[in-house]
């Protein structure tokens, strides 16, 4: 599913990062562990095709990302990757349902109504489907962000510090939901985090910055 080899990235300011080789099998939910500033986010963005210009090799679902044109990479990202960020970045002008459908539309796909409803049900926010996103609580908003990431059944779900702002109980809940719906969608979950609480829950761990 994911294969990384001899990967390094140089920032515009000249600072350079090298990453160790690793590979992740389909369905093998994994953690990218490392301290702040170790390059977790950069690696996650490289894997998700949000950042280009690396040297080395990144293969996602048998595609070498550097070989894709900009336009193809946009399409690839829309179809194969779902994202969850620490700040949720829901589109405030749209209601919950449209926030979700937006991701399908932008990926050039049609939203599966049934799966959308199932996902909202599983995440316990079905009654919020037509709510204004500005009225949601933090926890509800996070669930919407998760639903948005899994809606297109992407091969890969990339999450950047999804739990660091949560207390222990919520952290536990969110992680469980995340793993549940990701598995249900047939997606492989990759979480970049320095949150030690997750270590006991996900066995496959990749250490960065050593």
């Amino acid at each position: 599913m994911v294969e990384v080899k001899d990967l390094s990235f140089t920032y515009p300011n000249g600072k350079s990062l090298a990453f160790g080789d690793f590979s992740i099998q389909k369905g093998q939910h994994s953690l990218l562990l490392g301290d702040s500033g170790s390059g977790k986010t950069t690696l996650l963005h490289l894997l998700g095709g949000l950042l280009r210009g690396y040297s080395g090799l990144i293969k996602i679902d048998h595609s070498e990302l550097s070989e894709l044109s900009d336009a193809l990479l946009d399409k690839f990202r829309g179809k194969h990757c779902g994202f969850i960020f620490q700040k949720l970045h829901l589109v405030k002008a749209l209601n919950v349902r449209r926030n979700l459908v937006l991701s399908s539309w932008l990926a050039g796909m049609r939203a599966e109504e049934e799966w959308l409803t199932t996902a909202l049900e599983k995440l316990n926010i079905k009654d919020k489907a037509d709510a204004d996103v500005n009225t949601l609580s933090q926890g509800q908003a996070q669930r919407v962000a998760i639903a948005r990431a899994v809606l297109n059944r992407p091969a890969l779900i990339l999450a950047d510090e999804p739990t660091s702002a949560l207390d222990d109980r919520n952290c536990e809940d969110v992680l469980k939901l995340l793993i549940d719906v990701a598995s249900e969608a047939g997606s492989t979950l990759i979480i970049a985090t320095h949150d030690q609480r997750l270590k006991s829950r996900i066995g496959s761990q990749i250490q960065i910055g050593r």
């Binding site: 949000l50 700040k87 459908v101 991701s103 932008l106």
Partner: protein, 391 residues
């Protein structure tokens, strides 16, 4: 989900700003539409009424007044001219045709014009009822007069002296209506036509010798272009009368009114300019608010061109909405202005559309595109990594 929903949602999420921009532009467009509608229709009205009239001969005074009085029936006569003298001019070899006009009386504010049937023929008038006048004190009514005063063939009325409804009445001489004209879209619709002798008989100058008989003015059609040079000079220098050219006087009037129109046009341009700037600023500020929206949409697979297009669509929906609103308001304004019936506004309506309005719409689309070009370019250049990692 589609572009329209996305753009519509963004516009709705900043409703006040959207309304402000739409209304601002619509104000400028309203002024432009008003100028176009009123100007075009006045132009048409002016030219349809001067058709076939090359020169008007009247008493000495303001030439513009002669034209306004004898062609448009909006002003008062400068005085009377001697019939003999006028007839001498009408026999001149450069005059193809002449029509006498005797003014001075009115009924309920509508003018009674003593003339001959060639005046009606000038505007290709035809009758909807009855016949043309054959004898003194027989009147043919214009369509609007008949409609407004509910006059029909067989009715009688006494005229009032002067051209307003408050003059003394000529009770002893009753006119009777023998015909009603069809609508012509010219001044004829607002007139009551009779023969010249009727006017004389009402004013009891029938008994006076021919040499002192007078009319108000005479409309002249030239035989050839040479007349335009020779006749006015001849009339102005050798007679006690004055010649006035409708074309010349109306263009002189337009030059005088033109300043007002220029000021209005300038105002409209300033308004449109400000609203264009306002649309640009609205989109530019929206960029800041939507930094993360744009980045996340790119992350979810949106191409650069899609974000570019969304921004351009947002700008041009604002300008197009403003223009549609402005066009509607411009027509409503003309409609209101013409609701109060008067001679100046007659023949002007808010119910016609001109090609210029389609150009306005196309222009506003272009304006919207131009205003949103820079913000759209910025939006399409969103650096996903920097925005999403930089928090």
């Amino acid at each position: 989900m589609n572009l329209f929903i996305l753009v519509g949602s963004y516009l709705r999420s900043r409703l006040m700003n959207t309304l402000l921009n739409t209304v601002l532009l619509s104000l400028g467009i309203t002024v432009v539409v008003f100028i176009v509608l009123a100007g075009r229709q006045l132009d048409e009205k002016v030219s349809v009424n001067t058709k076939g009239i090359d020169l008007v001969v009247g008493a000495k005074g303001s030439p513009l007044q002669i034209i306004l009085c004898s062609v448009y029936h909006m002003d008062f006569p400068t005085g009377n001219i001697n019939l003999r003298e006028a007839e001498r001019i009408s026999k001149h070899r450069l005059v193809k045709k002449s029509i006498p006009l005797a003014l001075g009386d009115s009924y309920q504010g509508f003018r009674i014009v003593g003339t001959d049937t060639s005046y009606a023929n000038l505007y290709s008038a035809s009758l909807s009822d009855g016949g043309w006048w054959a004898d003194d004190l027989e009147v043919v009514a214009g369509s609007k007069v008949a409609q407004k005063l509910r006059l029909k063939v067989g009715d009688q009325f006494a005229s009032a002296h002067g051209l307003t409804s408050d003059g003394g009445a000529h009770e002893e001489h009753a006119y009777h209506i023998v015909g009603v004209m069809k609508a012509t879209g010219t001044v004829l619709d607002d007139l009551l036509l009779t023969n010249v002798a009727s006017i004389w008989s009402v004013h009891e100058i029938q008994s006076q010798p021919d040499s002192t008989r007078e009319i108000t003015s005479m409309l002249i059609r030239f035989r050839n272009p040479l007349a335009a040079i020779q006749l006015p000079r001849l009339i102005n220098s050798t007679t006690s009368m004055q010649a006035a050219s409708p074309a010349f006087e109306m263009s002189r009037l337009y030059t005088m009114l033109g300043v007002g129109v220029d000021v209005l046009t300038g105002l409209a341009i300033i308004l449109i300019g400000i609203s264009a700037l306002s649309v640009f600023l609205a989109l530019y500020n929206a960029l800041k608010d939507r930094r993360y929206d744009l980045a996340i949409m790119r992350a979810m697979g949106a191409s650069r061109s899609k974000l570019f297009l969304a921004m351009v669509m947002e700008g041009s929906s604002l300008t197009c909405a403003g223009t549609v609103l402005g066009i509607a308001a411009g027509h409503a304004l003309i409609f209101l202005a013409t609701a109060v019936d008067s001679e100046v506004t007659s023949g002007i309506t808010g119910m016609v559309f001109y090609m210029e309005e389609a150009y306005l719409l196309a222009g506003s689309l272009l304006l919207g595109i131009v205003c949103s070009l820079v913000p759209a370019l910025q939006a399409s250049r969103t650096n996903i990594h920097e925005v999403l990692a930089g928090n």
